[in-house]
């Protein structure tokens, strides 16, 4: 079985986001970049499936050289090899085109992604890739099992989250999935993994298309909230009154 895991390199979740260059660029000063938390779930499940069923796991990132520490970390966690498409990820369509082009060459049985990137939060790349490849896309996936039978196309058993609940799904591979917890526990690389990751192949390729359909022209920070109004615990009832008369929301 061949698994492709698509990962993003994104600001750590504790980052206070700020912009530079007249609000046109993310300020990267002092920012730690991490694997997208959802992509980390996808990778962890891919490595588990490899251990359980036997599989090759390839990690793919569309991004500049600054994403390589994140890619190496994925290799240390258990991916076998990696591909970086050397291009600035301009919009979801552009990224999806790069991923689909690589998938067409390599016929993966399973393409695992995060439910959404935590920078743009689009949750779109998996669906566009699915459409481009003409295969189903399912997100957000909470549980994933693949049957061990290798006679025909394997079947995936999937739990997907929906509003206020979940649904159980079944589909034949190949599939594109957007993953979230509790699909697997995040994995931390061990010393041996870190050592072997250094020599695992990381192939850099150039972008195959240039379509950018949505351009970001600028950024903005949310306005600061006004000062907090404190209410004494003994007078908690006042809050309900204020929500009705002052905030007018109940």
């Amino acid at each position: 079985m061949k698994i492709l895991v698509c990962v993003t390199s994104v600001p750590d979740t504790t980052t206070k986001i700020t912009f530079t260059d007249n609000n046109t660029k993310l300020s990267k000063a002092g920012v730690t970049f991490i694997t997208g938390p959802y992509d980390d779930y996808a990778l962890a499940r891919a490595v588990e499936l490899k251990e359980k069923l036997g599989a090759s796991v390839t990690v793919l990132n569309v991004g500049g050289a600054e994403a390589e520490p994140v890619i190496r970390k994925c290799l240390a966690i258990g991916a076998d090899d990696a591909i970086r498409v050397n291009a600035e990820p301009r919009d979801a369509y552009f990224v999806a085109e790069q991923i689909a082009a690589i998938a067409k060459e390599n016929n993966y049985d399973l393409i695992l992604m995060g439910r959404e990137s935590i920078d743009y939060n689009g949750g779109q790349v998996h669906g566009i890739v699915g459409e481009m490849l003409g295969i189903p896309s399912i997100s957000p996936v909470m549980l994933l099992d693949i049957d061990g039978d290798t006679a025909g196309p394997r079947t995936a058993k999937i739990t997907r989250e929906i509003e206020g609940g979940k649904e159980e799904l079944e589909a034949k591979l190949p599939l594109v999935l957007g993953c979230q917890e509790p699909i697997a526990e995040w994995k931390i690389p061990n010393m041996r993994g870190i050592m072997t990751a250094r020599t695992k192949p990381l192939k850099v390729v150039e972008a195959t298309s240039t379509d950018v359909l949505t351009d970001v022209s600028g950024y903005e920070l949310p306005p600061a909230r006004g000062a907090v109004k404190m209410i004494k615990a003994e007078e908690a009832e006042t809050l309900i009154h204020l929500l009705r008369t002052e905030a007018k929301i109940i």
């Binding site: 938390p37 939060n121 779109q124 509790p182 949505t214 907090v228």
Partner: protein
């Protein structure tokens, strides 16, 4: 050149988020000097569909086919793509939902469309097609220039305040060609809390964290939610510990909500939690620790014990 809005019908009426999407779509149509058409797939009463007129749509296309009775993002995307072509629509509006999320990307792929997710304002058409969206999990906004001929906007809850009129929309049936490949995923079972107010749709949310000490104490959270007509939510550790179901978990790695009111009880206010809730209109924080970081992001705060404060609030809410 028209605007097409995908709407969902639930329990015999247009979902609240869909009403908002229709109103938004009608406003965009007005700005473009054109009209808004709504597309609904699956079984539904004509009366529910005609209601789309109240929110500004002229016409509703109703795609009926036994195969469309169960919501299916891929098949619905095929339907909407066909309707886009028939109507010559250049803008497609959807309200974010688990169904719409499964459709927008497939649609963008089919139509080679520009796409903005988490849209929070009407577009600015003065120089191309620019729209503001929420990014970095609510920590910032982006201005997106949509350059393709077809544009898809997935709007967040509370993007626009809906105004109703008495108008009704005409309903036409629509029979697009369906694609077998869209039915390759089999739904084995669905588990859904039906009676409760669903979190992503809720105007009011009462949320609680590890400060509640254990799942057996959630009664006081549910009581307040019930008294206010609010949905319940929780922090990540609470769902990790299985005190509450995963679909109630809000934040960076959970559901992102933007209700009118978010009450946080016994939640410290970690940045990853704030990320999912900071676009709420009014935030109330109840915490026994006066230095809890959440107070910095609150509009109203109460320093106190949740086990005393929540029941007092419930009583006061019941007395309204």
């Amino acid at each position: 050149m028209s605007v097409l809005v995908f709407a969902e019908v639930e329990n015999g009426t247009l979902k609240k988020s869909s009403q908002e999407a229709i109103f938004y779509g009608a406003k965009v149509a007005e700005m473009m000097g054109t009209s808004a058409t709504v597309i609904v797939a699956g079984q539904s009463d004509n009366s529910a569909l005609a209601e789309a007129g109240k929110y500004g749509a002229n016409k509703v296309l109703h795609a009926v086919d036994a195969k469309l009775n169960e919501p299916n993002g891929m098949a619905y995307a095929t339907v909407v793509a066909a309707a886009t072509q028939q109507e010559g629509a250049s803008v497609i509006v959807l309200a974010k939902s688990s169904l719409a999320d499964a459709m927008t990307a497939r649609l963008a792929g089919k139509l080679k469309a520009g796409l903005a997710a988490n849209v929070i304002e009407l577009p600015d058409l003065s120089n191309g097609f620019r729209v503001k969206s929420s990014i970095y999990t609510g920590k910032a906004f982006a201005y997106n220039d949509l350059k393709a001929d077809t544009k898809i906007l997935a709007i967040k809850k509370n993007t626009i305040i809906v105004e109703e009129t008495d108008a009704t929309a005409t309903v036409e049936s629509f029979t697009p060609a369906l694609n077998d490949a869209d039915f390759a995923v089999t739904v084995k079972s669905v588990e859904k809390a039906t009676s409760d107010i669903l979190l992503p749709e809720a105007d009011l949310v009462v949320s609680a964290g590890r400060g509640l000490k254990g799942p057996e104490n959630w009664g006081i959270v549910e009581d307040l939610a019930k008294a206010l007509g609010a949905a319940t939510a929780c922090s990540k550790p609470v769902s990790d510990l299985d005190w509450r179901p995963h679909h109630e978990h809000v934040g960076q790695t959970g559901i992102k909500v933007s209700p009118n009111l978010y009450i946080a009880a016994g939640i410290s206010g970690a940045i990853q939690h704030l990320a999912g809730v900071n676009s709420s209109k009014v935030i109330v924080v109840i915490n026994k620790d006066p230095d809890a970081p959440f107070f910095k992001s609150a509009d109203y705060g109460i320093v106190g014990d949740v086990f005393e404060v929540l029941p007092r609030l419930t009583k006061a809410a019941q007395a309204l």
